[in-house]
């Protein structure tokens, strides 16, 4: 088993993302719905944090608050900005989020265009990430000419191209088939290895959480709380297929599933009650 020593710096340096006592509720017709109930979490600079939880546990809400797309009812969520010239975050959305009316190139360049980046920089950066995602030959295509996997690659290139302080990913591969998902996980890890951004990655797949993450945050069923945090000891750079052969990988997946099983069952019951 390959085990990487945890670097000391991750313990002593101030966290990149600080979430403290985060609480989020929505008014509904039948009263108040609590999506997040006291989430406190520090995410180290340059680490890859995956969050798993049953559907409806509020993990997407947590990410949307970090992205500034929603505001918390109480508590705080702060991203430390190291470079004021950089955008604080960029999000890779779940599902079809690239603009159908823009070419692959203009989609990937969107964040840079919004920030009025100089033309030469746009050209260099977009070329780089389209190349890294294998999309350069398709730069002039429109989304309706692309497969689902290619569209998600565009979305990833768009997020990386803005060089954000943190990357937020909301189940980016959930709509893809198994083979495409594995390929994209591998590609994501390779691109991420270039400059090791801080990543928060939401998924409902335990396999994906273990494959990608340095730490796995397991959430409870509604209302969303943190059940446990598990460190992932595998060395980097990781090879997705090699990793899955490792017996320690299976053991970790099994352990996370153990944590998650009760929550998934509870989410099922809540869903059944909600329908009744």
């Amino acid at each position: 088993m390959r085990v990487a020593a945890l670097p000391d710096i991750a313990v002593s340096a101030p966290p990149k993302i600080e979430i403290g006592g985060l609480y989020k509720s929505f008014p509904t017709r039948s009263g108040t719905f609590t999506a997040l109930d006291g989430i406190s979490l520090d995410i180290a600079r340059g680490s890859f944090c995956t969050i798993v939880g049953p559907s409806g546990c509020g993990k997407t809400t947590l990410l949307r608050i970090l992205a500034g797309l929603e505001t918390a009812t109480a508590g705080r969520a702060a991203i430390a900005a190291d470079d004021p010239a950089k955008p604080v975050n960029a999000m890779v959305f779940q599902g079809d989020s690239i603009f159908p009316w823009m070419t692959v190139w203009n989609n990937a360049a969107y964040g840079l265009h919004m920030r009025h980046a100089p033309r030469a920089q746009v050209k260099e950066v977009v070329t780089h990430y389209l190349d890294r995602t294998g999309l350069l030959p398709f730069a002039d295509r429109y989304p309706h000419q692309l497969s689902g996997g290619m569209k998600q690659r565009v979305s990833i290139a768009r997020a990386f191209a803005t060089d954000p302080e943190v990357l937020l990913m909301d189940e980016p591969f959930s709509a893809l088939d198994e083979q495409n998902r594995t390929l994209l996980q591998d590609e994501l890890l390779r691109i991420w290895d270039e400059d090791k951004k801080t990543v928060v990655f939401i998924t409902h797949s335990v396999d994906e959480a273990v494959t990608l993450g340095d730490r796995i945050v397991v959430m409870t069923a509604h209302p969303g709380r943190i059940k446990t945090i598990v460190e992932v000891p595998f060395a980097r750079p990781r090879d997705v297929l090699e990793l899955r052969r490792d017996p320690a990988y299976g053991a970790l997946v099994f352990r996370i599933w153990g944590e998650l099983r009760d929550e998934v069952a509870r989410a099922r019951r809540q869903e059944a009650e909600g329908r009744a």
Partner: protein, 255 residues
Amino acid sequence: MMLSLKNRDRLIGLASPAALLLLWEASVRLGWVDPRFFPAPSTIAGTFLHLARTGELWENLSASLLRLLFGFVIGGAPALLLGLAMGLYRPVRAIVEPLVAATYPIPKSAILPLILLVFGLGEASKIAMVALGVFYPVLINTMAGVLEIDRIHLDVGKNFGAGGWQTFRTIALPGAAPLIMAGIKLGVGLGLILIAIAEMIGAQSGIGYMIWNAWQLMSVDTMFVGLVVIAVLGFAFTWALDELERWLLPWKARA
């Protein structure tokens, strides 16, 4: 040789009007219909050539086209901007929507006397009629087009720091463009109808004037020339707008 379905449809599309014209011509020559009311297509074509040669036709046509153009811009541009704002901002929608719902169903031709009262007998009243016709379909379709944009695209804009104007330009406008184009096509059609009506009252030029004047002089073939010109204009505008759409919206997958 097998014809593709599309080519077959095209052929039928040409054949059916031609058959109608032939039937018409034959009916007149065989004395089945009264040529004073329904002159033969060949007679109408002769009158068309005559009016074209004297310049009368072009004078009237250009007057109508100019009014259409001005009316189209004056009615369409504010409709586009207001429609985008209504689609993007709830309060704007809340304020404007009831006004639109209340005024839209009033037949535009019924407003003509009021328009004449306000704008007088000159150019302004004709342009105002076209503008009114174009305004509503463009406004309603633009708003619907923006509302139909997937929420996720607006989230993307927000997440990547798009400001108000950038959201307009990069998301609302292109996202709503297919429905806006549909609104423009409807608006041009309505504009053609309304310009003909407006030119029948108190006008000294235009295709509508030509038709009305011909009726008063009992020059029935001139009247038919006017009708044919309007039909051809409608066909030409539809074709041109289809081509424009193909060029402007290359991202729309065509069935």
